[in-house]
Homo-oligomer: 321 residues x 2
Amino acid sequence: MALCETASVAVGIDIGGQSSKIGIVDREGHILGRSVLPADGDTNPDDFVAKLAEAVRALIASCAPDSPIAGVGVGAPNANFYTGCISHAPNLPWANGKTVPFAQMLSWKLDDVPVTITNDANAAAMGEMKYGVAKDLKHFIEITLGTGVGSGVVVDGKILYGSDGFAGELGHSCVEMDGRQCGCGNRGCLEAYASATGVARTAREWLDSSDEPSSLRQLTKITSKDVAEAAAVGDALALRVFDYTGTILGTKLADFVHFSAPQAIVLFGGLARAGELIYAPTIKAMNARLLPIWKDKVKLLFSSLPESDAAILGASALVWA
Amino acid sequence: MALCETASVAVGIDIGGQSSKIGIVDREGHILGRSVLPADGDTNPDDFVAKLAEAVRALIASCAPDSPIAGVGVGAPNANFYTGCISHAPNLPWANGKTVPFAQMLSWKLDDVPVTITNDANAAAMGEMKYGVAKDLKHFIEITLGTGVGSGVVVDGKILYGSDGFAGELGHSCVEMDGRQCGCGNRGCLEAYASATGVARTAREWLDSSDEPSSLRQLTKITSKDVAEAAAVGDALALRVFDYTGTILGTKLADFVHFSAPQAIVLFGGLARAGELIYAPTIKAMNARLLPIWKDKVKLLFSSLPESDAAILGASALVWA
C-alpha cells in the first residue's frame, strides 16, 4: 500500500478596508494557520497584490510547506465571480473608481495557482454551506447584518450569480419608497434599517424625537451592541427598536422566500449576535407575510461559523466548490 | 436515402377556471391544431382528467394522427413541476382543497406519454424563452399582469423552482405593510396594485374619494382597459392611475433585479396591453431604484407572443426543455 499523499489545502483570503485576513484551510474546514495584512493605503493594485502574494507565500511556508495548494479563494467587496475583477470598491483605495482584474493578477504572482473571487456575502454563504449551519441545505439565503446588509442566495447548492455575477443585493431592496437615506444614494433600502448601523440609527432618532427615559441617553455614540445590552435588561425603547427592526427584516425576508423558495434563511454578522431579540420579531413578521404554502415552514437560523473565522472559511470554500 | 421520419410534436395544455385550452405544437412553435374543453364543474379529478385525455386524443386524431407525441406540457394554477401535483387551486373545483397527482393521472390516461406540469406564470416564461422576446436570453423574469400578478424567474436558461417547486411568487411581494387587502389574505401585496384588477381598483378608489372630473365616472364597472382608453385620450385621473401603478411596479422590479440580476424583465398579460402608458412610469421607477451597476442596463420588454396562443405555446415548451 502506498503512503498517503499529503492532502492539498486551500488558501482563503478576506479582503477588507482595514486589513486582509489570510488562512490556510484543509478540506474539513480546519484553519491550519492565519495571518493578517494591514491595509497601508496602497492606491496601486500592483503594489497591493504583490504584498498580498508575499504574505500568502510566507503563511504557506510557515504552516503548510509540503501541502499542495488546491487554489486560492477570495472574498472581497464588489468582487465578481464571473470576471475575477474587483470594481469601484470605495473602501479599497487600490480599487476605488477603477476595475482591477484581481484574480488574474494574484494568480500570476502565485505561479498560476487558480484564484477564485466572489463578494464577501457570497463567500459567507459558501462557508455556511460547506462548514456551517447550512451544511445539509441546497436552497438557502445568507443575510449578513453588519455595517450594511449583504446577502448570498444559494439555489440548488450553488450561489445565484445572475447574468452578470452581481445577483443577491438584497440589502438594497425597498422597504419604504421615500424612507431613510441609504449609503447607495437611494432611500428606504433594507440596509438603512436592518443593519447594525440601522439599529443604532433608529435608537438615536427615537431618543432625539422624544423624552422617553432610556439608559441609552447617557451614551454619546450608540452602537447596535449598546441597544442590545439595554434591551437585554428591559430598556423599553431599546426593546422597541429590535421589534421595529425585526418587523422590517421579517417582512423583507418573506419577499425573498416568495422569490427563491429556500429551505432556510441564515442570519450572520453583528446584528445576529442580538439572538432572540432580533429573532423573535423577525420570524413573527416573516410568517405573517408568507403565503400559506410557506408559513411556519421556512427556517430562520443563525450562522454557526465562528465570526472571526467565517470570512476565511467562506473564501476557502470557493476552492472546493 | 431513407425517407424523413415524421417529426414529433408536443401537446400544450393551459388549464383555467373557465376552460382548458389544448394545442398540438411542433418544435418551431407552430400550432397545428387547437381545441377548448369548457369547464363543467367536475369536482372529481378522475372525471376531469378522463375528459381532458379524451379531448387530447381527439385533437391528435384530427390534426396530427401520424406524428409521434414527444410529451404533454401543462400550465395550471398551483401546479408543481417537482411533484406533478395541482394543490388547493380554488378556481378548479376538482382541485379545490385537495392535492391531485395530475401529471401522473393524465399520463396514465394517455398510455404513459410523459406529462410535465408547471404553474401558468412559469409556462408563460418557458414559452417566451422558446418562442418569444426572450429567445436569446438566459436570465430574465416574466411578469404576468392579469387578474393577479404572476411571475416566472429564469436563471441560466432554467425556471427557478426553489426547494419545493413554488419559487417565483413575486405578486405577493410587499409594497406597503398595511396596504390594500390582497386575495391571498395579506395586505399590501404587489398584486393588489399592479394587476389589471389593481388598476381598476385604484381608479375606482380615486373617483370615490374626490370630485375630479373624469370620463370614467360614467361607467358603473371599470376595467383596466377602460382606464387605459381614458388615459389614451388624456383623462388626467386615468393618466395618474398609470403613473401610480407603474411607479409601484417599477420599484418592485428593481427589487427583483437586485435579487437575480436578469438581463431583462418581460411584461405579459392584460395590463401589458396598455403599452407606453405602463412602460414609461415603470422603467422610470425601476431605474430610479436600481443600484448603479444595473441602472439603464436591464431591459423592460413586452411579451411578443400572441396572447391567445401564449399559454399553449408555454405549456408545450415544457416538453422540449
